[in-house]
Symmetry: C2
Subunit: 231 residues, 2 copies
DNA sequence: CGGCATCCGGGAAGATACTG
DNA sequence: CAGTATCTTCCCGGATGCCG
């Protein structure tokens, strides 16, 4: 049994809405609150648990994460699901419509990458860097490349396949990959976007490459950041 | 001469940032605050004055609009410009990089239009409806159509040209248009997306069509809303 | 009138502690 | 592990007033 707050002023106080038929305004009501789109981003490559979300969104507090998850669930963008025994853990998973928000994440990210204020040395989550591959690959260069590359990033593993100019990224164990990157996401980002030489990172023990080193180098070469905007 | 707030706790208190190298997170720092993207939207078809922005964003308060304009200017997304005499008015205009944010507005709007909770009967601004034409036209149907249509929406006028499957929308006086819609943006939205018959609207005096009525009907027919998402 | 600055109330976000 | 509870801080929204 729940009590309504007695001090609740009732429906006379309109909640923070944009009274606007524009789809963009409605989109902001759905996913425009602080942290909401980043929670969506973290779920784009598959369901996660509360504590994983918390770990991958440094700075979010538990109660805000709870509120965002409730809001997104209420808006039909994600669902709570209980994994079958023996895992028995509760996970949060995007609905099909939730997954369709990926172009928003991509478009915003690609645009913001041109910002002169963008600091690429900050920490980055495993999901972020894998999603960025989908956004930032050069289709022309990828066309010339057929490759299956694996990633073991701390707790998560992914497989990226470049084929006929398309780049696919899925969560999963990279068994058949030609090369496998092993290390932390932020270091991987330095290698791919900062073009820090793999040799240096390997020597420092920061990022290992298992398998075909040349294939790993070719993979890195298909990514490029857009030019900075001139203000 | 400006005074720093004496109560300012100094740089010890980190401002609300997402410490995240992900481009999406940085994008949210640039344009993720409440109202910011809607301010950008209102400037997408050309500069505006403070009071016009306020009128086109119902619900925004003057001080919040001031803060957003300062923030967006500081981020290099817009500039204040003084019109030459005799106008002498100050206007806010997007920078080239600011204009490049249009795909964000579009992607978000197209995605959110699928929301079951979207209420298309709310008021809509002139800029919103004109921008939505760029987003929502069916390229296939537009290909079969060559048309120049004008719009006189209260204080603003626009020209839309459909040509070779492309739809262009610019601010300007519609002199040469085959047909001109005259009325309020919200009523126009009802005609285009609600498919309210033009005859009914004309009879009610809500929306007039000057010129070639058949051309106006054909123009409306190239737009369609995406199917609602199933939750 | 346009473009703010200021003050205030309410509510959202952040940090920390605590519980099943 | 998966959240609540509580407290503080800050932002948003509304009203008012200043000033060219």
């Amino acid at each position: 049994m729940e009590l309504q707050k007695l001090t609740n002023p009732g429906p006379a106080v309109a909640k923070r809405r944009y009274d606007d038929a524009c789809g963009t305004a409605h989109g902001l009501e759905l996913i425009g609150e602080r942290w909401a789109l980043l929670v969506m981003r973290e779920l784009m490559l598959g369901p996660k648990r509360f504590s994983d979300l918390r770990a991958d969104l440094p700075g979010i507090s538990a109660n805000v994460l709870t509120q965002r998850l409730e809001g997104l669930e209420g808006n039909g963008l994600l669902k709570r699901r209980k994994l079958p025994p023996p895992a028995n853990a509760q996970v949060y998973e995007l609905t099909p419509w939730g997954y369709e928000a990926e172009p928003i994440v991509q478009t915003l990210g690609r645009w913001a990458a041109r910002s002169p204020a963008h600091d690429p040395t900050l920490p980055i989550s495993a999901t972020s860097i894998m999603l960025s591959f989908r956004t930032m690959y050069n289709a022309e260069r990828a066309r010339a490349l057929g490759a299956t590359i694996g990633f073991r990033l701390v707790d998560d593993a992914f497989i990226a396949t470049a084929e006929a100019g398309e780049l696919k990224v899925v969560r999963g164990d990279p068994a058949e990959a030609e090369a496998i990157f092993v290390g932390e996401p932020t270091v991987l980002a330095g290698a791919v976007y900062g073009k820090v030489p793999l040799n240096d990172l390997a020597a420092a023990g920061a990022l290992k490459v298992e398998g075909d080193r040349a294939a790993a180098e070719r993979f890195i070469s298909i990514f490029e950041l857009p030019p900075k905007a001139v203000i």
